[in-house]
Amino acid sequence: MNTASVPLPAWINYGVIPLLNLLLAFFFSGLVVWAIGENPFDALQLLLIGALGRGEGIGFTLFYTTSFIFTGLSVAVAIHAGLFNIGSEGQAYLGGLGAALVALALDRYVPWYVTMPFAVIGAALFGAACAAVPAWLQAKRGSHVVITTIMFNFITSSLMNYLLVRVLIVPGKMAPESRTFLPGGQLQKLDWLISMFGGKLGAAPLNFSFLIALVMCFLVWVLIWRTKLGYEMRTLGISPTAASYAGIPYAKTVMITMLISGGLAGMMALNPVMGASARLQIEFVGGAGFVGIAVSLMGRNHPAGIVLSALLFGILYQGGAELSFDMPNITRDMIVVIQGMVILFAGALEYMLRPAIVRAYQKIGGK
């Protein structure tokens, strides 16, 4: 029997199925750990202690979470309009340029809270600029946005490489990075937030952009489910023909959606650039744009889900780093494997278990 059309209650769709997929991903990651001769359960324990055990660990976890919330939101906004933006990586990279330019220009003159709003706007504008060409190509020329955003990841990478090596580099220094921002160009560390819960932030770079990320979650929720534009985006995402019948302008909606998506990705740069290293560094995004795809998928493209799954990936990142100290046989790249498994099982294979679950559900209580 065809089970695809059988409706399932929300708690199964949004609770049981993602959880089972996640368990599968962890099971296969555990197999890899076991295959290289370590105990997966010890590894899991070390990972959790490393990520959540102390205030500093939690600070690092939330620092990574912040980046993933931004890129996750970026991917989710585009998905609601039926667009797959895999250019968050490049958009975040260019967003870093926007944030850095603002910080370099203002850090001598004003305190950080004055710089911040301009930096947010700068990062978002540059991120959006990076998404603008693929958006226009999709809207007006029908070129597939997936392909053009991939191309733009590389184009941005070359551009930033050039700028950092030739233009922004500190004369006489070898490292391709901008000068260090003065305190006026750095975001406040959130010591007070962690100490409210009795912990110590220590060296962890958790900073104000975490709060900006949470605000953006709320704004994205408002945008998608409480505004006309969001309604139009969702209509377009579900059925482009219906959207066209309803008089929703295709090109305009695609453009606006992609610009918002790019802007959110660009804002991710605030966290590492102004919050942590206080300078623009080469390849500072480090794959967070791609993690955003996993985060968005896991979170079912809903801001609340995105916060939770960003937290999960934050735990994996921080815990994975700690784990590689304790178990030298497991490198930090184990996180990449786990990420891949999560994307595979929670994303690509999300329907794999559904038929079995439908049958089980019908047998137990349904019909």
Partner: protein, 323 residues
């Protein structure tokens, strides 16, 4: 060194750099013409490079390495198929996932097995595909113009290079002159029609993906045991994506794919050559421009400014049989 010698040396390195692109782009050709987007080419290349290096290191046999490379790439292809054909998952997501898995697994396993930070052991000469001197290369070397071209560009490559160029007409023949190729192209345009004709869409697409894995396996093997003698972290370094760009640039056709790959390989070789040098009139050109050029050209093409690139119609859409 006069200009001609420089040209010959750039052409030689252009060929060497375009081979992995050529195998990978042809690999992508088969899956995309069958209606399966394949972002995971990069991961297949990386995984097969790793497998080939490991097996060649352990056995000292290049052919065993090639076999392992192909086997691994086919395995990844089948996973992609299981996700996107059988389970009707999103093809892009599945490709991204496989890229992650390959990038992570190769380092994790490599570090655990070889303890060299992700590098595999040095593959012995017997485990590599080494350069072949074609007959007569030394004889004609002194002949002006043709001699150096033959001796340094055409001859002196490894076996896989020649296989790569053979794969171009072979792919063309399979796609355009066999029943399998006709059906493969049809399933990428209108799977419903193929299904109506009583041919299994699923099995056809799986076969296309097996071909994809087969070719991608060559690409990875070339990287690790023909071009170099070990696997190095993230060895494919975005070549899978350039190959994807080449495939699009060539409008999903086998012979243009070859020229696109040669062009992109040439740009790469030229960028290496230009490092720190300056052009007459223009001055020093940043190498990053050459690195970005394949992607910029592809975007310009996609925008419809150089002809129209029309992807296979059913690409990216999972096929659901009506019931």
């Amino acid at each position: 060194m006069d200009y001609f010698d420089i040209f010959v040396s750039i052409m030689g390195s252009a060929i060497r750099l375009s081979i992995p692109l050529l195998f990978t782009a042809l690999a992508g050709l088969f899956s995309e013409r069958a209606g399966i987007f394949d972002i995971g080419l990069e991961g297949k290349m990386l995984a097969s490079a790793f497998a080939a290096a490991c097996v060649a290191y352990w056995t000292g046999n290049a052919w065993a390495g090639l076999g392992a490379g192909i086997g691994t790439a086919i395995l990844f292809s089948l996973l992609h198929g299981f996700a996107s054909i059988t389970n009707r998952g999103n093809q892009i997501v599945s490709g991204v996932a496989l890229n992650f898995v390959a990038a992570g697994l190769t380092i994790v396993l490599g570090t655990a097995w070889f303890q060299q930070g992700g590098r595999t052991g040095q593959v012995p000469p017997s485990g590599r595909f080494s350069a072949i001197t074609l007959p007569g290369a030394d004889l004609v070397r002194e002949v002006p113009i043709i001699g150096p071209l033959y001796a340094n560009v055409v001859s002196g490559n490894n076996l896989l290079t020649y296989i790569a160029f053979l794969m171009v007409p072979l792919s063309w023949w399979v796609l355009y002159r066999t029943r399998f190729g006709l059906r493969l192209r049809a399933v990428g345009e209108n799977p419903g029609a193929v299904d109506t004709a009583g041919i299994s869409v699923t099995w056809l697409r799986y076969r296309a993906l097996i071909v994809t894995g087969f070719l991608a396996g060559f690409a990875g093997t070339y990287l690790s045991i023909a071009q170099s003698a070990a696997f190095i972290n993230n060895m494919s370094a975005g070549k899978g994506y350039i190959a994807l760009a080449a495939l699009i640039f060539a409008k999903w056709k086998p012979v243009p794919v070859m020229f696109a790959c040669l062009l992109f390989g040439f740009l790469d070789a030229f960028a290496n050559f230009m490092q720190g040098k300056s052009l007459p009139l223009i001055g020093e050109v940043p190498v990053q421009i050459f690195q970005a050029l394949p992607y910029i050209l592809t975007c310009v093409l996609l925008a419809g400014f150089i002809g129209v690139a029309r992807p296979p119609k059913a690409g990216g859409v999972p096929y659901t049989k009506e019931r």
